[in-house]
Symmetry: C2
Subunit: 451 residues, 2 copies
C-alpha cells in the first residue's frame, strides 16, 4: 500500500460505490441532507445571503437545471451551488464535525445537489457523492489542524476540497483526475477569521466561495485541466502556507472503515453551545416527570467553569444574540415554549413567562462536569418544584452529537421549524420534501424539491 | 493624517479622479492596456485557457455586455473577466512589476474591461479604474513581502485585491465600501506555487480566480455586503495567515505621488530573463553598426554568474522551452529573425542559420555585470565580424524596464506579433484596436474591440 495519503484519498474519492456505504451511514447521510435543506431555507431573506444570490443570478443564466432554494428559481450549477451555499450557514443551525471544526453540509450538499440536478443523477448518486464530500473534507480539516483554524475558517478552506470531491464523484473523475481536482481546489482555498472582529458578512462568502471554487475545480479536471499533485503536503502546498501542525496521515485515516460523516453532529438548540447540556438535562427531566414550567420553583444547573465564564455575565439580555448566551433564557424557552429554536428566540426571549423562569435559574460549578470537559459535555440539573419535590436529571452527551443523535421525528420537527422561520416553505411543502429525502436512495433521478 | 494604512489605501482607491493622474502615467496605462490586450489574444487555443473559458461559458449566460477576447463571444462581466484573465498570462508576455513580483495586467484589465463594458463607462473611467487596480495591487504585493511569495503566487493573492479595487472604482464605491470590498477580496485570496513541481495548469486558474473573486467582492460591497476592516494586517488577516515579513506602511507608500503603474516592466524577448541583457546589447550593436547575421564571426557575452549557472548547460536545445534557456539560440533569433518572440521560437529555434549563429556565441563572467546584479541587469557583448572588426555594446537596463521602456512603435509591433501568434486577430483588426487604445482617454464609452 502506498504511503502517499493524497493518492489514497483521491483513489477513495474516485472509486467509492453506493454499495460500499453501510446502511446506517446512508441513513445518516439522508438525515444530514434534510437538516441541510432546511438550514438553507432558513437563510432566506438574510441580507448577506440575498446579496450573494442576487449577484450570482445577475452574472448567470436566467434558467438552468439547478435550483436555488431560497427563491425557487433555477440557473446553472455554479450559480445554484454558490447561492445555496451562501444560504446554508447563515442561521448556524447546520451540522458540525467536532474533530475537524468543520461544517460539512454547507459546502458539500449545495454543489452536489446542483450538479446532480444538472446531469440527471440518481438519488443514490447524490448520496454517494455527498458521502465522498464529507469523508474527504473532514479528513482535510483534520489534516490542516488547530494551527490552521486559528487564522483560517476551515469550512472555507477544507470546504473547497470537499466540494470538489463531491462534484468530482458525480462527474465520474478517475483517481488521477480527482487528484488534479484536489490541486485546483486547494490552490483556490481561502477564508480568514478576521471578519469576526467587526461581525462582517464573510461567513456566507466563505461557504459560497468554497462551493463555487470546488465545483469549478472538478469540472476543469473532467476537462483535462491539471492541478498540483501534492497540494496538501507539498513544499508549497496548503499546509506549507497555512498550517504549522499538519499531519499527512490524517488525510487517509481509516478510509473505507471509519465513516467521518457518521461522527457529524446536528445542532439542536439555537443557543451558545455551553447552554446545551443543561438544556438537554432540563428537557429530559420535564418530560420524564411531566412537569410544566409553572410547576418549577428553582433550577440549579451543574456546569463546567467555561460555562460560568461565558454565560455568567449575561443576567438580563437585551438582544436576541445576548439571549443565546443566557442560561436562564435558554432554559426558560425550553421550559415554557418546549424548544429554544430560532423562532422562539426571536419571538419570546423577553416574554414574561420566559423571564420569570430565567430568574429561577442559577449555575454552580460541578467537579464531575468540569473534569470531563471538553472531552465530554455532561449536562446536570436539579429542580425544585412548587410543591416541594427535589428532582434531578443528567445527559452524558449533548443532544445532536452522534451518541445522542436526533430521531427522524426530531429531525422532521427541526426541519419544519427552520423552513417556517423565514417562510422558506410551508408545512405541507416540507412534508413532501421530507418524503423525498427519506426516499432519496431509491429515486432514479434527484427530484426537483419544492417544485 | 491617519496611520491606518488600510483606510488610506481605500480612500485613495475610492477617490482617485482621472484629472489626478499625470499625463505620462496615463500614456503608460494605455501602453500597458495594449500590451495586455495582445497578451490575452496570445492565450487563444491554449488548452488551460480554453478549458476555463469553456467552463465559464457553460455556467454563464449565452450573451451579455462583456467581451471574451479569444473567441469574441459575449457574456456577463463575471464570465468575461474570468475568461480573459485566464488568457492573459499564458504566453507569459504580459507585464511585471519587479518590486512586488506581481503581474498586474492579467488581473486588473480583464475585470476592469468587463465591468466598464457592462456599465457603459467611458475610456477615461476604464483607465482610471485600471490605475487604481495597479496602485492598490502592487502595494498589497509589496506589503505581503518575500516570505509570502515563497509559498503563494502573489499575482493570485494580491491580484484579488487589485481586481476588487479596479471594479470597485467603476462601481463608484465610497471609501467605506471600498474597504469592505478589500475585506471580501482578501478573504478569498488564494494561489499556491505547489503546481510548478509538476507543471500543472494552475497559473491560468490563479489569474482567473483573482479576477472573478475580486469582481465579486466589489459588486457585493456595492450591494451593502460587509468585509473585514483589517483584512491586511489584522490578527487573523492576510499577513497573519500568509506572510512573516509584511509591512503595513507599504500599503500606503507614496499614494498620489508615487505611481507604481509607471514602474511596471514590459516583457520584450520571449526567453529566460537571464538572456535579455545580452540580447538587448546585441540588438543595439547590430542596429548601430548595421551588421547582418552573416557578417558575425563570433559573439562573446559578458554576463553574471547566475546566467552561466542557468544557461550554461543548454548547448543543444531540443524543445522550444529549452531553447528559451539557450543564450546562443536567443541571440541567433535576434540576429537572424530580428526578434526572439513566441512565433520565432516556435518556428525557428532549430533553423539552420539560427543554429549556425548559436554556435558562435559564448558566455564569460564579467566582474562589473556580476557585481551590479541583481540590482541592475547590465548587458554587454563583444562581436568579431567576418571582416575582422572588433565591436562592443552595452545596455544598462533591460529593454522593457521603466528606464528603457518600449516605444509605441515597439509596443504596436509586439502587439501585432502576439495577436498573430495564435490567430487572435488580423493585422488590420489590430490596427483598429491600436487606434482605439491610443484614443481611449477620449472615448465617451469603452468600445467593443474586435467588433
Amino acid at each position: 500500500m502506498t504511503t502517499d495519503t493524497t493518492a489514497q484519498l483521491a483513489q477513495f474519492a474516485a472509486s467509492l460505490k453506493f454499495s460500499d456505504i453501510p446502511a446506517p451511514v446512508l441513513r445518516r447521510a439522508e438525515d444530514l441532507y434534510l437538516d441541510w435543506f432546511a438550514s438553507a431555507l432558513a437563510g432566506k431573506g438574510a441580507r448577506p445571503v440575498e446579496s450573494i444570490t442576487r449577484f450570482m443570478r445577475r452574472m448567470g443564466p436566467d434558467s438552468g437545471p439547478s435550483q436555488i432554494l431560497i427563491d425557487r428559481s433555477s440557473s446553472s450549477p455554479l450559480v445554484a451551488a454558490v447561492a445555496n451555499a451562501a444560504a446554508s450557514h447563515f442561521a448556524e443551525q447546520d451540522d458540525v464535525h467536532n474533530g475537524s471544526v468543520f461544517h460539512p453540509a454547507a459546502v458539500v450538499f449545495p454543489p452536489a445537489l446542483a450538479v446532480a440536478q444538472a446531469i440527471g443523477a440518481s438519488g443514490a448518486d447524490l448520496l454517494t457523492a455527498s458521502v465522498v464530500g464529507y469523508e474527504v473534507g473532514i479528513r482535510v480539516g483534520e489534516f490542516l489542524g488547530r494551527s490552521h483554524y486559528r487564522i483560517f475558517h476551515t469550512t472555507g478552506t477544507a470546504g473547497t476540497i470537499a466540494a470538489a470531491a463531491a462534484v468530482g464523484w458525480l462527474l465520474k473523475l478517475d483517481a488521477t483526475q480527482m487528484r488534479h481536482a484536489f490541486g485546483s481546489a486547494g490552490t483556490q482555498a481561502a477564508g480568514l477569521w478576521e471578519f469576526l472582529r467587526t461581525a462582517a458578512d464573510s461567513k456566507q462568502l466563505h461557504t459560497a466561495h468554497a462551493a463555487g471554487a470546488g465545483l469549478t475545480a472538478a469540472y476543469l479536471a473532467a476537462d483535462g485541466f491539471t492541478g498540483a499533485q501534492a497540494i496538501f503536503d507539498g513544499k508549497q502546498g496548503m499546509a506549507a502556507g497555512m498550517s504549522s501542525d499538519s499531519d499527512a496521515a490524517k488525510l487517509a485515516d481509516g478510509l473505507g472503515q471509519r465513516w467521518a460523516l457518521a461522527e457529524t453532529s446536528f445542532k439542536y438548540h439555537a443557543s451558545c453551545r455551553h447552554t446545551h447540556p443543561a438544556a438537554d438535562a432540563l428537557q429530559t427531566l420535564m418530560r420524564e416527570h411531566r412537569i410544566a414550567a409553572d410547576q418549577v420553583a428553582k433550577v440549579v444547573t451543574q456546569v463546567h467553569q467555561g460555562a460560568i465564564d461565558v454565560l455568567g455575565p449575561v443576567v438580563d439580555p437585551q438582544t436576541v444574540h445576548q439571549a443565546k448566551f443566557s442560561m436562564g433564557t435558554v432554559l426558560g424557552l425550553v421550559a415554557v415554549k418546549g424548544f429554544a429554536g430560532l423562532t422562539e428566540f426571536d419571538a419570546d426571549y423577553k416574554a414574561a413567562p420566559v423571564v420569570a423562569f430565567r430568574d429561577k435559574v442559577s449555575m454552580v460549578l460541578d467537579a464531575e462536569v468540569d473534569t470531563a470537559y471538553p472531552a465530554r459535555w455532561i449536562g446536570k440539573v436539579q429542580v425544585t418544584t412548587t410543591d416541594g419535590r427535589q428532582l434531578a436529571a443528567r445527559v452524558d452527551e449533548p443532544k445532536g452529537d452522534p451518541g445522542n443523535t436526533l430521531s427522524r421525528a426530531e429531525l422532521e420537527d427541526k426541519a419544519q421549524r427552520l423552513a417556517a422561520y423565514r417562510g422558506g416553505a410551508t408545512a405541507a411543502e416540507m412534508q413532501t420534501v421530507i418524503q423525498q429525502v427519506w426516499g432519496l436512495a431509491q429515486a432514479t433521478t434527484v427530484p426537483r424539491f419544492l417544485a
